[in-house]
Symmetry: C2
Subunit: 203 residues, 2 copies
């Protein structure tokens, strides 16, 4: 088994944190996005979507999409559970994971990709107006999440889950996207301090 | 149990098709998006994201996000499986579901929301340049999917899955988005004829 990945990039980091929480170590192969290694034929054969990370199993099967890779490890290493254990819990964790992915991580990514000069060759065309339109979406979502986090320790409830991983990565992704977490978001700050102190956050 | 939903809208339709494939009937409450019923306090209390569908369980739990609702029914009604049965199959179906969601359904939705006059009050601001930028993304994805579908009957492999549901809804969503499936996409057309003929497609 091998994980083709790029250190520090947001989606690969979701898998790295997930594996650290599970206590699973997988040999990695580093893909350099800056030199367009993800567009070389040998990588495209592993993931035609040309995105990291990709998990290669010993039989040659390739699994891409960070959350699909996480789910594979949830199935093969059920403890500690990060996707929930009962039907309702699994549905609610999936709901929160997706809320954070579509309403926080995606708008942060859109701001970054459509406004940051370093992305001019990766995101064609860069649409500055769309990048700007996403900034208030991020702020609205943070304001709402901050109120909602007042009554529970973690994003999806009483236990740390994959929804916290997506949220942590999205909040840290705000820095290169040149977005600041408002001082007023006291509950998010309390949560952020807590989840950032977990050893997995260093992944 | 009640499903708050809007007939014919793309995301609610994913759940309707899923339930039809499972042979599960759930009482529904219709939410009229055109009269902004999804922004009324009683609905916002059910889903603060103000989106349909929402599943209300008998204990008052609310599950939103179409794929989270589908997963709940996968857990409570495992047959026929639409998310896969082994760890690898589950990961690959999730991979394909997400590939289709992020690289086909989302660009179709972006074209629709940022270019269609009927969406001017729902998508603020409409960024026409971003709507236009998504059209070639849709076409590139269709060209690639068409080649890939040459060697198997369904999107994620040999059996119908939730990935086919997302893809079918995305392809049908192309019509209001004023996008046409290219004549050259023979494999997608063969697949589309097949999945559209399933009784669930009428949902």
């Amino acid at each position: 088994m091998k994980l083709y990945t790029t250190p520090r990039a947001p989606n690969p980091r979701r898998v790295s944190i997930f594996l650290a929480e599970k206590g699973v170590t997988v040999p990695t192969v580093e893909i350099d996005i800056m030199t367009l290694e993800h567009k070389r034929p040998d990588f495209v054969a592993r993931n035609p979507m040309m995105r990291v990370p990709v998990l290669e199993l010993d039989d040659g099967t390739h699994i891409s999409e960070s959350i699909a890779i996480c789910r594979y490890f949830e199935e093969t290493h059920p403890e500690p559970s990060l996707f929930g254990t009962s039907p309702v819990e699994r549905a609610l964790i999936e709901m929160w994971q997706r809320r954070m992915e579509f309403n926080l991580m995606l708008p942060v990514a859109m701001s970054f990709r459509h406004l940051h000069p370093a992305m001019a060759e990766m995101e064609v065309p860069q649409v500055a107006e769309w990048g700007e339109a996403n900034k208030p979406k991020v702020m609205e979502m943070l304001d709402w999440l901050d109120q909602d986090l007042g009554d529970r320790p973690y994003v999806a409830g009483d236990t740390f889950s994959v929804a916290d991983i997506t949220t942590l990565v999205a909040v840290d992704f705000m820095k290169p996207a040149r977005l600041a977490l408002p001082e007023t978001c006291a509950n998010i700050r309390r949560w952020y301090t807590d989840v950032s102190a977990r050893p997995s956050a260093a992944a």
